[in-house]
């Protein structure tokens, strides 16, 4: 006999030793190699800025042993007597009509490893895959760039416009209250490395993207900055299990990853596991409430005239209510680390 808890969709809370992809583009120069152990903050690639194409003559047959592989760096022009060397070196793209096309440009930006781990794979011009040593807290989206910093959890009732100051430079801050694009832009300007937010409205996302684009277009760019969104677009409180993980990771050097979206936590942190049988209400009149799953509540007609499967939940405030299963979620207990 079971209580049919499996009817409630389970969401992963933590991923043990996740594989994360750091996006590259043709012309990026990867400095790490497969198998390297890297530490958070270590440079793994030099990013190209304003990439452009240059051409180089292909050497006559047999001189350089056939077509180079992607990721091969070649001089812009083969040195020949009486000619200047021409364009700078670039990454080989393809060869056509006796000429090679190379992606080249300055490399002023650095791609840092967001967490300790090992380089699993390098796809030149596509992605670098890193397996981290510690677990990752599951999020829904990373806006901006991967980064790392010390995790500072600001109180739920703090106003980001007041709480964010230069003393937090280099940190990753958790903003539990209402967040707008202005607060995030200020955080970036103060040297804060990233923010973790429960939700972010579409308008704020657009403003943030526009602000980031302006930074990218500027001559003197600010450091990378990432905003990790744990939920969706509408504001609702963080689940207790998520808050517990953030509290446990507070003060640690954490990373922000976008593919998949994760908050990367050091392996040496003891993190609380989600309690089996505990469910979170993510919609409807009881949104934000949490409680204990009691069992199926049968089919019921909800306001608006739709009939749905429900579950009986003993809420933390002492009430027992039938809630549509579609508005419930639970956190899956992660499998063993490693």
């Amino acid at each position: 006999m079971t209580d049919a808890l499996e009817l409630v969709p389970a969401r992963a809370l933590l991923v043990p030793r996740p594989r994360i992809r750091l996006e590259l583009q043709p012309g990026d120069r990867v400095t790490a190699v497969v198998g390297d152990a890297v530490q958070a903050g270590e440079v793994v690639a030099e990013r190209i800025r304003d990439p452009r194409l240059v051409e180089a003559l292909a050497p006559r047959g047999g001189v350089d042993q056939g077509t180079p592989l992607p990721g091969t760096w070649l001089p812009g022009e083969h040195a020949r007597a009486g000619r200047r060397t021409g364009a700078p070196a670039g990454e080989f793209l393809f060869e056509h009509g006796g000429r090679r096309r190379l992606a080249t440009g300055p490399h002023p930006d650095r791609l840092h490893a967001p967490a300790d781990g090992h380089v699993l794979e390098v796809e030149p011009g596509v992605a670098l895959v890193l397996q981290t040593d510690g677990p990752g807290l599951v999020a829904t989206e990373l806006l901006g760039e991967p980064h790392s910093g010390r995790l500072i959890v600001l109180p739920e009732d703090s106003d980001p416009r007041i709480a964010l100051d230069v003393a937090l430079a280099g940190a990753v801050v958790v903003l539990q209250g209402r967040v707008d694009a202005e607060a995030l832009a200020r955080a970036r300007a103060m040297g804060i490395h990233g923010a973790v937010v429960g939700s972010l409205a579409e308008r704020e996302r657009r403003d943030l993207a526009a602000s980031s684009a302006r930074q990218q277009g500027g001559l003197h760019r600010l450091a990378p900055f990432g905003v990790l969104v744990l939920g969706g677009y509408l504001r609702r409180p963080l689940a207790a299990a998520v808050r517990a993980v953030l509290d446990a990771a507070s003060g640690a050097m954490v990373g922000l990853a976008g593919d998949p979206p994760l908050l990367l936590i050091p392996a040496d942190r003891d993190l609380p596991l989600p309690e089996p049988g505990r469910v979170v209400v993510r919609g409807g009149p009881e949104v934000g409430s949490e409680g204990r799953w009691l069992g199926p509540g049968g089919i019921r007609r909800v306001r608006g005239g739709i009939t749905v499967e429900t579950g009986l939940v003993a809420l933390d405030d002492g009430r027992t209510v039938a809630i549509p299963i579609g508005e419930l979620e639970r956190f899956a207990v992660p499998v063993a680390n490693g």
Partner: protein, 549 residues
């Protein structure tokens, strides 16, 4: 052949439809020597299929313990709580997955537009560029971005004058991309040279497709579209299975059937028509077009939000509307009650509009006898309101029956490979698997706000008369299971299929009844938002009694 379906000793089977947002299951059992639907339900995707099937068995046992014992030897107390694992009965399962992304690189913008049209019509998500406009570096980035499942390289056949030089360069650029993404499927359309690709590092998987021929606008129905659709098919894809099920329905019912499938990750329209077979029986021609852009909450096209706002009967500022739709795309089962249901109804209308706009060039706008709503979106509004959605958006003159695939059986049953076996199962189940909503009668060409004529309805031994006023939506009570005839006498000569004054049409009942839709074709609504909402709300309330609760 599934085999066990025709074995009389097999007492029951389960169906499972694994959607992107919804997991739907049903229990089908033999009752009086025919298959009957015994129980069905749906849960958010991510729930356990075993737990869902356990609920179904428990519910059936609770409702009819004697028959449950007779069918399966399943005995128990019937707690109705889904607390025991389901019996090991066979399962028919189908699953739908989000459309994959196809990167298109073409020699010229003209060819890019043709390839893109064909690929979109084949159900791919598309990112595209041309050598004419985009440099090779950007084309490489486009084709190597995360999520790209295949690369289509295309040149017109014969190549246009400006494409001849570009074709070879394009193939070389594709070889460079293939070397970066080993294992990437590469599709070649038109005279693209293969040699550079065969020499590429990583030995890419190549496939030749028909060239993009035909004028823009015709590509959606081309051989290239069909080849691209075949290139993305999966053996258990529920949207493909819907096509097989539609063919069976057309043969079994001898009706022209149209399925409008709207899901969270994609959409499809299937049209199946019966025709005499060589052996004297009934065959069916089936055409299916998938449209990822018509997914329920997909709002990435210009004007998508505006169309939802157009149909939404509650005022909501644009930013809030966008956030709520974006949230629903992440969590489709949240915000179920109250105005969340109305928002889903508006999103469903907008999605069906997009589906019809994308598929009309391929499937046409010809009349059908039965329209079926399939996919989770149709279950997120009350059944009569679903009929109203069809009436609002599918604006064709004629009379059409409307139903929904309420238990999501069509996909799993479409997985039965053998036509005869599938037809036999559907013939047994057809009364159970389709939830009848009623009949919509839509004449075209009436002068608005005037007395238009009279309806005489004879059904179930009763006769009723209704005066017709053009410009409105009139509901006539016609319960499920009741069939009858409607005689319409118009003052003018509107079009109801053919044009005329007097029509006699067969009608069948349903949860919405008989809808006499005397509004304009196409539907014209007030420009002012408040007046439009008021008018839409008036119609919506008639078919959605819980509208204001």
């Amino acid at each position: 052949m599934v085999g066990w379906l025709v074995d009389d000793r097999q007492p029951a089977f389960f169906t499972l439809d694994h959607g992107t947002a919804t997991l739907a299951g049903a229990l089908v059992g033999r009752v009086d020597d025919r298959w009957r639907l015994l129980a069905a339900t749906a849960l958010p995707a991510g729930g356990s299929p075993e737990a869902l099937l356990g609920v179904l068995v428990d519910r059936f046992r609770s409702a009819d313990p004697a028959r449950a014992a007779a069918i399966a030897g399943v005995r128990g107390t019937g707690t109705g709580e889904g607390t025991e694992p389901p019996p090991a009965w066979p399962r028919l399962a189908a699953s739908s997955v989000p459309a994959e992304t196809l990167a298109i690189i073409a020699a010229t913008e003209r060819t890019r537009a043709r390839l893109e049209e064909a690929a979109v019509g084949a159900g791919w998500n598309v990112v595209a560029g041309s050598a004419e406009r985009t440099d090779p570096l950007e084309l490489t980035r486009l084709a190597t971005r995360p999520g790209v499942a295949a690369l289509l390289v295309g040149v017109a056949d014969p190549p246009d004058a400006d494409e001849r030089d570009l074709a070879a360069g394009l193939a070389v650029a594709a070889a460079g991309i293939a070397a970066r993404r080993p294992g990437l499927r590469i599709l070649l359309a038109g005279p693209v040279p293969e040699a550079p690709l065969l020499d590429a590092w990583g030995t890419p998987v190549l496939a030749r497709l028909p060239a993009p021929t035909g004028a823009p606008g015709d590509l959606a129905a081309s051989a290239l579209r069909a080849a691209l659709a075949a290139a993305r098919s999966r053996p258990d894809d529920s949207r493909r299975a819907l096509a097989a099920a539609a063919g069976s329905l057309a043969r079994v019912l001898a009706l022209r059937v149209e399925i409008l499938e709207i899901g969270v990750a994609g959409a499809a329209r299937v049209v199946a028509s019966p025709a005499p077979a060589d052996d004297g029986g009934i065959a069916a021609t089936v055409r299916v077009v998938e449209v990822p852009g018509a997914a329920l909450f997909r709002m990435d096209r210009p004007g998508s939000i505006d169309r939802v706002d157009h149909w939404f009967t509650l005022g909501l500022d644009r930013a809030r509307l966008r956030d709520r739709l974006a949230e629903l795309a992440i969590a489709p089962w949240s915000d179920l009650d109250g105005d969340g249901a109305l928002l889903r109804g508006a999103a469903l209308r907008a999605a069906v509009e997009r589906l019809l706009a994308a598929t009309d060039p391929v499937l046409g706008v010809g009349g059908v006898d039965l329209v079926i709503g399939a996919g989770g979106a149709w279950s997120a509004v009350p059944a009569p309101a679903a009929a109203h959605v069809v009436a609002d958006v599918v604006r064709r003159p004629g009379a059409v029956q409307v139903a929904i695939d309420h238990a999501r059986l069509l996909g799993p049953i479409g997985m039965i490979a053998d036509d005869a076996e599938r037809d036999a199962v559907l013939a047994d189940l057809v009364g159970d698997l389709l939830l009848p909503l009623g009949t919509i009668v839509t004449p075209r060409g009436l002068r608005p706000n005037r007395a238009a004529g009279k309806l005489v309805l004879e059904a179930g031994g009763a006769r009723s008369e209704v005066d017709l006023v053009a410009g409105g939506l009139t509901l006539v009570d016609l319960p499920p299971g009741v069939n009858g005839t409607a005689e319409l006498a118009f003052r003018g000569t509107p079009e109801l299929g053919p044009r005329g004054r007097r029509f006699r049409v067969a009608v069948s009942g349903g949860l919405a009844g008989l809808l006499l839709d005397l509004r304009d074709i196409p539907l014209r609504l007030p420009e002012r938002a408040d007046r439009r909402r008021e008018l839409l709300g008036t119609w919506e309330r008639a078919l959605w009694p819980e509208h204001d609760t």
